[in-house]
């Protein structure tokens, strides 16, 4: 069976800068598929190509069998899109936004009335239908946006960093809703994110870095590539400890955020040995399974949440 979303050797350059470099993946029916990477890694370029707002320089992308270049109208009638900056009109009420949004997809009359009320209720915004969008919180606006994108009952839902600007409660809420929608409507969801905890919730995750796709796996399979546990030591002199771990035990340790991190098999068994080797030096020890962050660091040598990427990402949008 063909994939609802399929890219083959997708490339895109802006002048000399290569934003996407031969990216190929297929998203399965009903799956929540994550595109994980730092801002500037190529996620948004990929998102805009899938949303028919940008044409690829090479390769192809198909959604529900429609090619984004040859048949953009077919793609547009198969997708719902939730943008990072909301596409709602703040001067209009929730109901007006949903009605006009439905009109754009050819929906009208009683069918449209039923659909927008159904979606407003599924996203729990029906009691705000008469409010101007500008008076809603960021979390509520995002829910209205999702309701709008679902009006035409798309087979594929594309979301670009949907938790941007949401507080932690609203983020948890958003994911509960995404899971619900998947269960209720069987929607295939592609979501871009630079947040680890969001990527962990996806069925499969593609890691994008500098335009290249480094991996495309389930979060568990990605973690398994590390093949060890991760030990984090908070200590007084992290650099000295890291050096001595190498000298005494032969382990490669790195210092990050003033903590020493090392990847070793059966880390819990080694904890006592390590603490005893550095009397009075180690303040706390955490042993755990590797996170997607660890996987990302291993693959790229860089961190996802590096402030550098955050800053440039925000500046670009202004």
């Amino acid at each position: 069976m063909s994939h609802p979303v399929q890219t083959t050797d997708l490339c895109r350059s802006f002048g000399a800068r290569v934003a996407l470099d031969h990216v190929s993946f297929g998203v399965r029916e009903g799956e929540i598929f994550g595109l994980l990477g730092p801002n500037g890694g190529g996620k948004t370029t990929l998102f805009r190509i899938l949303g028919t707002l940008l044409s690829p320089s090479g390769g192809s992308a198909r959604i529900c069998g429609h090619d984004v270049v040859a048949d953009p109208a077919g793609v547009r009638s198969s997708i719902g899109v939730v943008f990072q900056s909301p596409s709602l009109d703040p001067q209009l009420t929730v109901a007006e936004n949903l009605r006009y949004g439905g009109n754009l997809y050819g929906l009208r009359g009683p069918d449209l009335e039923n659909r927008w009320r159904e979606m407003a209720s599924a996203l729990r915004v029906e009691d705000r239908a008469g409010d101007l969008v500008k008076n809603l919180s960021g979390g509520l606006q995002r829910r209205v946006e999702i309701a709008k994108s679902l009006l035409p009952r798309p087979r594929v839902l594309l979301l670009d960093e949907p938790s941007t600007g949401l507080d932690p409660v609203a983020r948890v809420d958003l994911w509960a809703i995404l899971e619900q929608l998947r269960g209720k409507f069987g929607i295939t969801t592609v979501i871009t994110t630079h947040l680890m905890d969001e990527a962990e919730r996806c069925g499969r995750v593609a890691i994008l870095h500098r335009g290249k796709m480094l991996a495309c796996e389930t979060p568990d399979a990605l973690r398994a590539t590390i093949g060890a546990d991760v030990l984090t030591l908070v200590c007084k002199r992290p650099d000295a400890v890291a050096e001595q771990l190498q000298a005494k035990f032969g382990w490669t340790a790195v210092v990050r955020d003033d903590a020493v991190r090392l990847e070793i098999p059966k880390a819990h068994a080694e904890v006592a040995r390590i603490v005893e080797a550095f009397p009075g030096e180690i303040l706390s020890v955490t042993a755990g399974r590797p996170t997607l962050e660890d996987v990302f660091v291993r693959m790229t040598g860089e961190r996802l949440g590096d402030p550098f990427f955050e800053e440039t990402g925000k500046k670009k949008k202004k």
């Binding site: 805009r48 949303g51 028919t52 707002l53 940008l54 109208a73 077919g74 547009r76 009638s77 198969s78 997708i79 899109v81 943008f83 900056s85 909301p86 596409s87 709602l88 009109d89 703040p90 001067q91 209009l92 007006e96 009605r99 006009y100 949004g101 009109n103 754009l104 997809y105 050819g106 009208r108 709008k148």
Partner: protein, 264 residues
């Protein structure tokens, strides 16, 4: 999946209604589009005094009366500009991207915007025209029958001009600059402020200026073709040129949307 892959009239109607609803919720836009031209008219028109005459003006016409049709065109121009400036805001705030990813024909996007802007422009201009008798400008049913189509056609064309400027821009500052160095001179050289002298260079500028035919259409709508107005074309000719101009603006706008359907 529906048989019709892209939609035309329903989205155009939705975008048109959105323009109207938004406008009615932003009271300051009414003031900006109406008050500025009226203040111009009062200050310039009455400032030159009742005895002020320009060559080419009929003897029994005051300057306030002469300037009145030009003021109406300025209202059309200002309203058209304000309604097309919102394209830049829509692009920046995100509303436009939601329209661009929908299965909507480019013609629908353009039509919705043009019709919305035209309705606002012609509606406000008509409101001011109802006060024409106060300025000594004739107004009866025959005038209205010529005036309303003229306001619609000229408004449509001016919205089109604003659209072509606004679509590729991503800052409203850029629009204001173009408005000052391009759109205002177009209006000033349209015969709105003064009749083009028979032997001045302005004569050629007026003859080539599409806005001049808009001003002529509005002026002839008030006075008919009988009143001698030097160098002002007839109502029919001015309307034909204005319709052609509006059609060209529309086609260019569709071409532009088709060509650059991206958000940045």
């Amino acid at each position: 999946m529906s048989a019709a892959r892209t939609h035309l009239w329903l989205p155009a109607l939705a975008l048109w209604r959105r323009e109207i609803v938004r406008f009615l919720r932003q009271k300051n836009r009414v003031i900006g589009a109406l008050a500025t031209p009226l203040v111009f008219w009062l200050l310039i028109g009455s400032g030159v005094g009742p005895g002020f005459r320009l060559p080419g003006m009929p003897l029994d016409m005051t300057y306030l009366a002469y300037f009145f049709p030009g003021t109406v065109v300025l209202i059309l121009l200002f309203t058209a500009i304000f309604s097309t400036i919102s394209i830049i805001e829509d692009r920046r705030e995100g509303f436009l991207q939601g329209v661009l990813v929908a299965p909507v024909a480019p013609e629908a996007i353009v039509l919705g915007k043009f019709l919305g802007g035209m309705t606002l422009a012609a509606g406000q201009a008509l409101l001011v025209c109802l006060a024409a008798p106060l300025a000594g400008v004739p107004l009866d049913l025959a005038v209205l029958a010529r005036l309303i189509p003229a306001l619609m056609v000229v408004g449509f064309g001016l919205v089109g001009l604003g659209f072509l400027i606004a679509w590729p821009l991503d800052s409203t500052q850029g629009f204001h600059a173009i408005m000052n160095v391009f759109l205002m001179p177009l209006w000033m050289l349209s015969g709105a402020l003064f009749p083009a002298g028979a032997d001045s260079w302005a004569r050629y500028a007026v003859a080539l200026n599409p806005v001049a035919y808009g001003t002529a259409a509005v002026r002839r709508a008030f006075y008919g073709d009988a009143v001698p107005l030097a160098s002002v074309p007839t109502y029919a000719f001015a309307m034909i040129v204005s319709v052609l101009f509006a059609a060209v603006m529309f086609l260019l706008a569709v071409w532009m949307v088709r060509r650059k359907r991206s958000i940045a």
